[in-house]
Symmetry: C2
Subunit: 236 residues, 2 copies
């Protein structure tokens, strides 16, 4: 049976903060497939937001020109380093479903946890790489797994990983949440579970901006193929 | 009660065509709010896709730099005219929820129907403007309506408007579909209704690429504000 790319993003701001320093963008790849870009700007509030917008805008422009993911991450590092003289940093995660190669590609300059399950059920342990903007020749960590119905990826910003730290809880465990979500869980189900858990661990007052990106590749039986996208932004 | 920006996009390809010539992109506005960009490249298949990607990429890059919508549309025209010597055209619709001005802004270089309902229930009749790329000084048509819970906007590509033409049906009527959808309909409900109707009118074999973009602004009661985005891409 053919597969469906199913991507969901859920985000919330640091408690009592008007602006999230995390930015997430979805772009169409010119060769087929989609990419999701997650950037977390250093600090919080307005300055962090501008920074993460700058990074996602640069990466999305390059991806849309057909530039490969690793080169786009390197370019974003050099750009940020040049523009801000190595004074500010941002983390970057790129999650791509590349229909040319038939693979899911994860490219990261980030130290937060992430969850990657391959089609044969193996869990890839995510490498850690330093963030963008601080060093002149920073390289990303990358993983590539073949497309298949059991593939599942969860990327989070550090506000999720560090939730519950103030109250001394152990780090949030994405593997357990994924296992509890069950086989049929949609990307949106899993994103809501992860974000809900993180908010609860911070006793409903997020200590930092929180973002979660989830990819699943379920089978589908549509005859007329319909693509859907949606966005919900509650205003204060 | 506070409002929620609710946006949905539904798309399908021309029957037996691998690629859609329509591209839709969602971007975050640096001043607050979001914009949806819909471009329909002349023709169909690969060339039309590249063209519409080029237009949305240009417009999204400008919007993310804070450039106003009308100036972005003008720039996209001049860019396309310069790059392709006035030989190819593309239609462009930009739908923005601008939190700085508290308004919904619709900017169009397109001749297809669209549906705009203001908060006081008035229906704005959409103006027609020539597409991008053919003339050196093309300007967009624009409308601006205050944000409010009854606002509803439906934008479509010409594959939707022209559905049923082969079998001699009258043009698809967005006003009737919107009325039938009822008060509580979400953006996703309305997008599915419009696309479903258009596919049915083409007897399940779309004669052209079809895209629909819907905006509603319902009230919400969330205490922890969670933003959500999602994308579903069924593969053949």
């Amino acid at each position: 049976m053919p597969l469906k790319i199913d991507v969901a993003i859920a985000k919330t701001n640091k408690y009592a903060s008007r602006e999230s320093g995390d930015t997430v963008e979805i772009v169409e790849r010119p060769g087929g497939g989609i990419s999701i870009i997650l950037a977390d700007g250093q600090g919080s509030g307005r300055a962090a937001k501008t920074l993460s917008l700058l990074v996602t805008a640069k990466v999305s422009a390059l991806l849309k020109e057909g530039v490969r993911d690793g080169a786009s991450a390197r370019a974003a590092n050099d750009f940020l380093f040049a523009m801000r003289n190595g004074q500010v940093s941002a983390t970057l995660d790129i999650l791509s479903v590349d229909l040319k190669t038939g693979t899911v590609v994860i490219t990261r300059n980030s130290e937060t946890a992430c969850y990657i399950r391959t089609d044969d059920g193996r869990e890839v342990s995510a490498g850690v790489e330093r963030p963008l903007g601080i060093h002149p020749r920073t390289r990303p960590w990358a993983a590539e797994v073949p497309i298949g119905p059991r593939v599942r990826v969860i990327l989070v910003s550090d506000g999720i990983t560090n939730s519950g730290r103030r109250t001394g809880l152990p780090p949030l465990d994405l593997t357990t949440i994924s296992a509890n979500a069950g086989r049929q869980a949609t990307a949106a189900d899993i994103a809501d579970l992860v974000l809900g858990e993180a908010i609860a661990r911070d006793t409903k007052k997020p200590a930092d901006d929180m973002s979660v990106v989830v990819l699943t590749l379920p089978e589908h039986q549509q005859t007329t193929l319909v693509r859907r996208m949606g966005a919900e932004v509650p205003l204060p």
